[in-house]
Assembly symmetry: C2
Homo-oligomer: 106 residues x 2
Amino acid sequence: MRVLEHPDVEEIRLEAVLHALSDPMRLEVVRFLATTENGAACSEIDLAVSKSTGTHHYRVLREAGVINQVYQGTSKINSLRRADLDELFPGLLDSVVSAATRRPRR
Amino acid sequence: MRVLEHPDVEEIRLEAVLHALSDPMRLEVVRFLATTENGAACSEIDLAVSKSTGTHHYRVLREAGVINQVYQGTSKINSLRRADLDELFPGLLDSVVSAATRRPRR
DNA sequence: CGTTTTGTACGACGTTCATCGTAGTACGAG
DNA sequence: CTCGTACTACGATGAACGTCGTACAAAACG
């Protein structure tokens, strides 16, 4: 429990990002993180699933290159990789987040 | 074999669209259709899979609301639901298509 | 009519996925 | 050192997915 694997910028694949964003839970996480400036701990984002499932979704987002995760005490701080995503897929994150925000969680 | 079911505009869900776009084959179809003005028949888009699999992918795209399909003789003409998608998720289609075009098929 | 073209329906197969519960680990506080 | 908090690892389970082959259907053309 110390270092977390993140894909390099050039390793981020569009398909993986789209897949990561295609789940309601993960979309909600991204939508929430988009409203924060310095990220948020997993426990701050209230998902209606068990903790195991939560961990799973955060990992999918991290391994797709959508979020960054760093340990801070017993917590794990999540933040969007906004700069990386904007460089690779300009406009994508913004359009997804604003669409997800406009049409609230179903 | 005559009428094809399409979701109404208000039935199109962001998650379903993102999921539909998260497959390399389907992304290739969308990328191709984005370059055409009046759509294209399934047979015009050369996918490296069997016909059955092709049919499957077209159906996923149609049921997610990404493409429109109409019969024309023995062919089926596919076209992007660009206006509907732009209305629901402004900027999404453009950013995905241009990202998919810039980074060629894996 | 028969043939060709184009796409479908159905069933199968192996993989990936979302979900959970249980048990466990790392860290901070007392 | 012990306890609580926050998250993980592992295994299980049922559902969805991508793929295919075979058999079929509808339309166009001879």
